[in-house]
């Protein structure tokens, strides 16, 4: 064929050659991947079989085992340390952390982790942060806090994990300040605060005084780590103009527990026009037994919107005899209210 176009025959032969090569290359890639996996697996097994008895003796404070671990080849050390570090993810026993730290120290892993922290490969930075975190090496808290601003999202997540594991109060301020940071994963932010428990409360209350924009987030955090000390502030937030703040404040009350003032506000909020606020107000009265007035008001909301009704029923269940009386009074009804009352009563035993 004349002109710039190749003839059909040569195109076909080119495509045939290309497809043969592609098929062979893909098959070779599968074979190579499987071979590499098999070799790595065998190596891991070999190292585990050879050194794990020694590592376990070292965990039991056997100084001879610790000394021998220090002499194992450098190329095997990460493989020996890895399962020990992984076991700390689920088992946070302080004694185990201390003994694992000693073993990891003997294996000279810390300098490797330190080097990895500055690696340009994001997964190395993430691995190093989590390793240092599970070991609770608190002199690396600053590195963990700095990594909250890492450009890679998985490293920032690892930094939150590390700070959660470390539970170093020195990082608390940084974590609370980042409560609204959208670049950090929301569940991890809350998990990191949960790890500190009520230690966060003071920071949260102080910051909320100057940051009224994010009151809903502070209320959400207080629902995790607030105590009775937060009640006056929460009571104030239940009067906020924004329904999401009011709802979050009542939700926090449900966890902190209401006092007389909180109960009064929650009962009043049961008549609020916003469904979420009514639902959370019903939740806030969970376990409130100091007055029978609350049960009467809650019972009226068993035929409210479903989220309100369910929470009202649960709160009634938690109120002991006063709540039970209201539920029994409605259990005979043939409608949804009756079914909800019967269902709630049937779960009383399970709840106990």
């Amino acid at each position: 064929m004349a002109g710039p176009w190749p003839d059909a025959d040569s195109v076909a032969r080119f495509l045939l050659s290309l497809s043969v090569r592609l098929a062979l290359a893909m098959t070779a890639a599968v074979v190579i991947e499987r071979a590499v996996s098999a070799v790595l697996w065998a190596r891991r097994e070999y190292i585990q079989n050879r050194y794990s008895p020694l590592a376990h003796r070292a965990l039991s404070a056997d100084s001879e085992a610790l000394r021998r671990l220090a002499d194992i080849p450098a190329r095997h050390r990460l493989s020996v340390a890895r399962p020990l570090l992984e076991s700390l993810i689920d088992d946070r026993d302080p004694a185990l952390i201390v003994s694992t730290r000693a073993v990891v120290d003997a294996l000279s892993i810390i300098p490797i982790a330190d080097r990895y922290l500055r690696s340009w490969l994001w997964w190395r930075r993430a691995v190093a942060l989590r390793a240092l975190g599970v070991l609770q090496l608190r002199h690396y808290t600053a590195a963990g806090v700095a990594a909250l601003d890492d450009p890679h999202p998985d490293v920032r997540a690892a930094a939150l994990d590390a700070l959660t594991y470390m539970q170093d109060v020195a990082s608390l301020g940084a974590l609370v300040v980042r409560l609204h940071d959208p670049s950090l994963q929301p569940a991890r932010r809350l998990a990191s605060l949960a790890a500190f428990g009520s230690q966060c409360e003071e920071f949260l209350l102080e910051l909320s005084e100057f940051d009224v924009v994010h009151l809903a987030n502070y209320a959400q955090a207080l629902a995790i780590c607030g105590t009775r000390r937060s009640r006056p502030v929460l009571a104030r937030w239940t009067q906020d103009a924004r329904p999401e703040v009011r709802a979050a404040a009542f939700d926090a009350f449900a966890h902190v527990g209401v006092d007389h003032e909180g109960a009064r506000l929650a009962i009043a909020a049961l008549e609020n026009g916003d469904e979420a606020v009514r639902a959370m107000a019903a939740s806030a009265l969970n376990g409130w037994t100091a007055s029978s007035e609350a049960a009467t008001h809650l019972a009226r909301h068993l035929d409210d919107a479903w989220p309100v009704a369910v929470r009202a029923a649960r709160s009634l269940r938690s109120m002991g005899d006063t709540g039970m009386i209201e539920l029994h009074a409605r259990a005979a009804r043939p409608d949804l209210v009756g079914r909800l009352a019967r269902q709630t009563l049937s779960t009383v035993g399970a709840a106990c």
Partner: protein, 471 residues
Amino acid sequence: MLTASATSALVAFSVTVIVYFALWSATQIAMSPIALLFLGRHRVRHRRHVRALAAHLVSPPLVSVIVPSYNEALTIVGSVRALLALDYTPREVIVVNDGSSDDTLAVLQEAFHLVSAAAAFAQPLKTAAVRGMYRSTSDPALIVLDKENGGSKSDAVNAGFNAAAGTLVLSIDADTLLEPDALSRAVIPFLEDASTVAVGGNIAISNGCSVEKGRITSVALPRSWLARFQIIEYMRAFLLFRLACAAGNGVVLISGAFGLFRREAVIAVGGYDRAAIGEDMDLTMRLQRHFRGRREPIRIAFDPYPLGWTQAPEDWRSLRSQRYRWRRGLLQVLWRHREVLGRPRFGVVGLAVIPYILVFEGLGPLLEITGYCVTAGAALLGLLNWQMLGIVTAVSVLFGAAVTMLSVLMSDVATHRYMGGRDLVLLIAIALLESCGYRQLNAWWGCVGTAQALRGPATWGVIKRRAFEEQ
């Protein structure tokens, strides 16, 4: 004159087919690195740390697992036992007995000591009437809803959504077997990203595997060639196209065999559509349209590690029935959501994913069967270049095999299944043999399914199930 016209038509058709094939090849090649990178990132993330996240939360989200069940007496007890042993808490399991005519409810009552309970829940989604609700005295996390048959799986799942107390709802098939950590893994995207509305999981085929007490205990290739072909089909579908879609946040199908949803999002779009044939794809598309249409952030995630195992049909009749249904479902979804096509407002879904599905999955079988007919006609008229036909056939088979081996590679990276030497030889054989009859048959079924779709609504068809212990 006639011969000249036929030759011109043949050349024009050949050029069309070659351009189509080149485009398809280009998309496969373009998808591969995207999918591989996505898989690589998943692999290097430390899964144990990631899964530990839920344990660190003061109140991890309650997950309601919905098991729609219609005449599943053979498999339901094993499935429910496995679900009750999932390693994630808090969770509840809601079995919806959709008016079964077999002993589904009776075997459940006997196995789990069910007692009648008040059925109190709001019904934001309309369903057939609920006859009763049962709770298990042996496991408080189990609820059984007994309802009138609603004529579709969608109706049963919607009833489960109504009854669900969880903020997250897992919808599975009654014959789906889940990995013990499936739920704790699937929950993670919801915890990591507040805009996540759904998570799909990689579904693998359980045929050939050993199953004990609702758990896969050893993985092997099945003896049936029909099931073997479906294994590589699933690998390609889940580990190439869907991974590439997930990498670009363009997932348009959360399989009905495993889909974890934010309950309020599903309620907002009206739940599963009872009239939809491909109800799972239809729901996913409605979620995409709902959120993208309002310019609200949406993420539909996909976990490349197998979360669930499902039975593939091993007889031709069941497979044909399934493929007809899939085809009708696909065309129905494409027609229903045609306004998404090419609209920048719907992002990658409108600009890339739906056009890809329309061109390569919608038109593919029609073009393929037309190609075979034209080839046969050309041979009869003596116009066929046999050497060229041989080359084109070889290119098609080899390129198809290359794509299949790529998905096998990705499956290896993700899960290390079928790793024996014999398995590898078999997988290569399957990749080559798939193009020698099975693919053509699928294309033919695709054409018949298209004709059925044009004729109007049809029934679901019946797929023969076996108890897992038989495998």
